[in-house]
């Protein structure tokens, strides 16, 4: 039964509707894996054992009764523990909210449940989403399942979401992305992660790090699965005034399109040039693969990107401290030391510096729009480095010592500033077996094209089908020879 834990959501929904898999058996299979593996992986903060089984029984009854099924009927998912869940504690990965039980679901959680999804549990994360390593002093550090022997970071801040999906502890998960927090752990754990356009999916009921930078989105094994989760999540929400009223397209239908003739801009300066040689070659190979599929690839450059770090710092630091001001005055000792120090930096950003950063952000957005006036999508590495051991603060990139934290967010945060949709997906592995990720950037609200390119690439490659060594069952014995 454990084999079913690795199946893509698209296949699970078909098997459930055809009564070939029972939602109860499926939920139990994941619960068994969580029980067996999560003591070391630390993907979950809260496992919703009884609630998930009750929901699965109701889902099973609906299938047997021949009722109309939602697009995610019976699919077990995990939620980063900053999505409010009615009746289930929502900690934000913090001691401060360790006992908070919301009285309503976040909008996207309610919508996914309405589409038939079953919540298996709440997932580990960097405290209050303020760290790209995905570490947590309160609930333990998630273990990247791609290295069974060395404790490596999963990437963050949505570390538990990535580990849970990568290790086959749930079918898909939600992350959030203020500076790369969906895409970085997706890259480091070999997953597909989608940061939709700012305003495409509601942030209502999701704990904020920085209101103007936060994005919510799915983390899955395939682009087709990401499309399936995005459908119910997307759309206007009166509880989030930044959501768009633009209609939500049929993302599943969009996957079936060709990419022949599509224009792909390869970001070399700053992006490819920042990455280690193995990662650079993997993304260049991916660009060649897209060319073989009929796309036209040309190199492009983004001039304003060198200012992304300064603009993102001023915006995130100021907004984060504003959000946490009350707790920082009354419960500062309850924060982990790293997050407390990062929050303190916001005290030294002036109002004029904040607004200067928001003006710079407009220039960055304008430049990405200009590039995408001539290209259908842009591609780049997701991170310049692969997963590092926990506790390692520097990484060698082409002989240069680089700060791990700064490196992790270097290539993702420009698109939090610009707000464009981005899909991260695996495009190779190092010789040590660690995943390498690339990101595909699209025009505002054109998630359909981004997902179409990602899905076309995944139809032509098998990186996304590989499984990490941690948590694998022993290979079944070969069949006995016929006598």
């Amino acid at each position: 039964m454990s084999e079913v834990a690795w199946k893509p959501i698209v296949e699970l929904t078909r098997l459930i509707a055809a009564k070939e898999i029972s939602p109860v058996e499926l939920v139990q299979a994941y619960l068994d894996r969580i029980e067996a593996l999560d003591g070391k992986l630390r993907a979950f903060i809260t496992v919703c054992h009884d609630e998930a089984l009750a929901a699965a029984k109701a889902a099973e009854a609906a299938v047997i009764d021949g009722q109309s099924l939602g697009p995610l009927h019976g699919v077990p998912i995990g939620l980063k523990d900053l999505y409010a869940t009615k009746g289930t504690r929502t900690t934000g990965g913090s001691k401060i909210l360790s006992d908070w039980i919301p009285d309503e679901d976040a909008t996207v959680v309610a919508r996914l449940k309405g589409a038939g999804a079953i919540v298996l549990g709440k997932l580990n994360m960097h405290e209050f989403a303020y760290g790209p390593e995905g570490l947590n002093v309160h609930f333990g550090n998630s273990w990247n399942p791609w290295d069974a022997h060395t404790h490596r970071i999963a990437g963050g801040s949505s570390s538990g979401s990535a580990v849970a999906v990568a290790a086959g502890l749930c079918a898909g998960a939600l992350g959030s992305d203020p500076g790369g927090s969906i895409r970085i752990p997706s890259a480091l754990c070999g997953l597909t992660g989608l940061k939709p356009t700012y305003g495409r999916a509601s942030r209502a009921g999701v704990l904020a790090l920085a209101w103007s930078m936060d994005h919510v989105g799915p983390m899955t094994r395939t682009a087709a699965d990401a499309a399936l989760l995005l459908g119910p999540m997307a759309g206007y929400d009166p509880r989030d005034p930044t959501t768009s009223m633009l209609p939500v397209p049929d993302y599943q239908a969009a996957l079936r399109g060709e990419i022949r003739g599509l224009r792909v801009g390869l970001l070399r300066a700053f992006f490819l040039d920042s990455a280690g040689v193995v990662l650079r070659q993997a993304v260049e190979q991916a660009a060649k693969r897209l060319e073989e599929l009929g796309a036209r690839v040309e190199e492009v450059a983004m001039q304003t990107v060198t200012h992304a770090a300064g603009a993102a710092f001023a915006i995130v630091a100021a907004e984060a401290l504003a959000y946490h001001e009350e707790w920082m005055k009354t419960r500062a000792d309850d924060y982990g030391p790293d997050v407390r120090d990062r929050l303190r930096l916001g005290a030294f950003v002036s109002a004029t510096q904040y607004l200067k950063a928001q003006r710079a952000r407009q220039l960055i957005r304008n430049e990405v729009d200009r590039l995408l006036a001539h290209q259908d999508v842009l591609i780049a590495p997701t991170t310049p480095i692969v997963a590092t051991p926990v506790g390692q603060t520097e990484a060698l990139v082409e002989g240069d010592r680089q700060d791990v934290r700064s490196s992790l967010i270097r290539l993702t945060r420009p698109f939090n500033l610009s707000g464009h949709p981005v899909c991260a997906l695996p495009c190779g592995f190092t010789v040590a077996g660690l995943p390498i990720g690339m990101q595909i950037v699209g025009r505002p609200f054109d998630e359909a094209t981004v997902l179409r390119v990602a899905e076309a690439y995944q139809r032509a490659t098998d990186w996304h089908t590989r499984r990490p060594p941690f948590g694998q069952e022993a290979a079944p014995p070969p069949p006995a020879p016929a006598t």
Partner: protein, 59 residues
């Protein structure tokens, strides 16, 4: 802009209602200095006619 010192950081924090200890300020100083240098570099951008991305709108 006046040179940043641990003393100015402590005074700024106090004005905002935070009573951080000297050793905490010392720990933050280098990172604050590096981060604000990045923000100062935004002055190189042609921002004169650019409005901030966050505005109040009557929808």
């Amino acid at each position: 802009m006046a040179a940043l010192t641990p003393k100015t950081l402590k005074r700024t924090a106090a004005l905002l209602g935070y009573g951080w200890l000297d050793e905490e300020i010392d720990r933050l100083f280098a990172l604050t200095e590096r981060s604000l240098e990045l923000v100062e570099k935004l002055d190189a951008l042609p921002l004169h006619d650019v409005e901030p991305a966050v505005q109040y709108r009557m929808l």
